[in-house]
């Protein structure tokens, strides 16, 4: 048996549903680097504010807690997952509807995105693949998209 509860409605002001447009794509990636102290941890983000060590203060015990745990790439990957997943979810021809087998080449998922409605996804794919840094992330993203339908 189940309960007789009625369906629920979200309250006004749900943070999750009111966020789009608050940051630019570039800003979100930059914040990953700055908050995680990319220049200190990876040396790949010249000019970043190097907040990671300061923000975390004494939290990062260098002996017991490798700095790689605070890898900006992990953050960037999540940023891109979130964005592309939103595009895929909004797409009538989501790449996840077609079986894609290993190896998960980055090109395949972008080739699979066709049609005018998917121009944004294709553009994002192109943008990601033209960056050495983001290529790695995008490969992870592919695995994510193929093995799950969430995030």
């Amino acid at each position: 048996m189940t309960s007789d509860d009625t369906p629920y409605d979200l309250p006004d002001g749900v943070p999750h549903q009111m966020m789009a447009g608050l940051l630019s794509f570039e800003a979100s990636l930059a914040l990953c680097d700055e908050l995680l102290g990319g220049a200190v941890l990876g040396g790949a983000v010249p000019g970043s504010a190097v907040l990671g060590s300061a923000v975390l203060g004494g939290a990062s015990d260098s002996r017991a807690e490798p700095q790689s745990r605070f890898d900006p790439l992990n953050c960037r990957r999540a940023v891109i997952m979130e964005i592309v997943d939103a595009r895929v979810a909004a797409s009538a021809a989501a790449p996840t509807t077609a079986p894609i087998t290993a190896p998960f080449a980055s090109e395949r998922i972008c080739e699979g995105v066709t049609g005018e409605d998917n121009l944004q996804v294709r553009s994002l794919c192109s943008r990601l693949m033209n960056s050495d840094d983001l290529l790695v992330i995008f490969d992870d993203l592919l695995t994510h998209l193929i093995t799950s339908d969430h995030h």
């Binding site: 048996m1 189940t2 309960s3 007789d4 509860d5 009625t6 369906p7 629920y8 979200l10 309250p11 006004d12 002001g13 749900v14 943070p15 999750h16 009111m18 966020m19 789009a20 447009g21 608050l22 940051l23 630019s24 794509f25 800003a27 979100s28 990636l29 914040l31 990953c32 700055e34 908050l35 995680l36 504010a49 907040l51 923000v55 975390l56 203060g57 939290a59 017991a64 807690e65 490798p66 745990r69 605070f70 992990n74 953050c75 990957r77 999540a78 940023v79 891109i80 997952m81 979130e82 964005i83 939103a86 595009r87 121009l119 944004q120 994002l124 943008r127 799950s148 969430h150 995030h151």
Partner: protein, 235 residues
């Protein structure tokens, strides 16, 4: 009273409702089932999605979220995520990541819902420390933690942005966003939070817990940042 009530699908698989209570009670947190010990899957959830797929997961997540939203504490958050994970392990629901997402989003939404003025703002860092560590890492692929962080980041960024007009927000500068988000990140991913999370989770994978917590926390930060990106800015 059972922790939850199984649907027909679960019953066909021979799942006993008491299993969930047993599993969650084995945690070091004696109050693991606080507030959700008698949770039942709402009838409308199984009616709309009798095969236990996507809709059922979301429906169960919302029900659980509402169950604890008005009584949010470390114990109830832990209990909710634990029960959802058990429901997933027992194949009552196909997955629990999105269900945990809904729990995390709802508890933040309830906390901040309707607050508009600065006088009603509270300490985001303190709220972060109250909520994030108790979304059990490992459970439901960290869905609760990611959703809570995403929602808290949204609260912080909207404060910078001010009231939006016609649903159109103005992108925030990186510098101001950084200053606003740093306390949240520090609270969520710092030692105090990790210790708080670890102390209540005697998980079988405990030796890897700190590493997982850090990874998940950073990943949650990225999800929150990505969620705040405008569609137009991505193309």
């Amino acid at each position: 009273m059972s922790c939850f009530t199984v649907n027909k699908k679960a019953q066909h698989k021979g799942i006993a409702s008491g299993d969930v209570r047993l599993k969650c009670d084995s945690s070091a947190s004696r109050a693991t089932l606080a507030g959700v010990g008698d949770f039942q899957i709402p009838r409308h959830c199984t009616t709309n999605d009798p095969y236990g797929g996507f809709e059922l997961q979301r429906c169960v997540g919302e029900a659980m979220g509402w169950r604890i939203a008005m009584n949010t504490s470390a114990s109830t958050i832990r209990a909710a995520t634990c029960v959802l994970a058990q429901l997933h392990r027992q194949r009552v629901i196909d997955d629990c990541h999105l269900a945990a997402h809904d729990v995390g989003a709802l508890i933040v939404a309830t906390h901040y819902g309707g607050r508009t003025g600065p006088e009603e703002e509270d300490d985001l860092a303190a709220t972060t420390l109250l909520l994030v560590p108790h979304c059990r890492p490992f459970d439901c692929s960290d869905g609760c933690m990611h959703a809570v962080m995403t929602s808290l980041i949204g609260v912080a960024l909207r404060r910078l942005d001010g009231p939006s007009h016609d649903g159109v927000a103005t992108p925030t500068s990186t510098a101001s966003a950084r200053d606003s988000l740093a306390p949240i990140f520090s609270s969520a991913c710092g030692r105090e939070a990790r210790t708080a999370s670890f102390s209540g989770n005697q998980h079988p994978l405990a030796p890897d817990f700190r590493s997982r917590y850090d990874y998940s926390c950073v990943h949650g930060l990225g999800h929150g940042l990505g969620h705040a990106v405008s569609a137009d800015d991505c193309v």
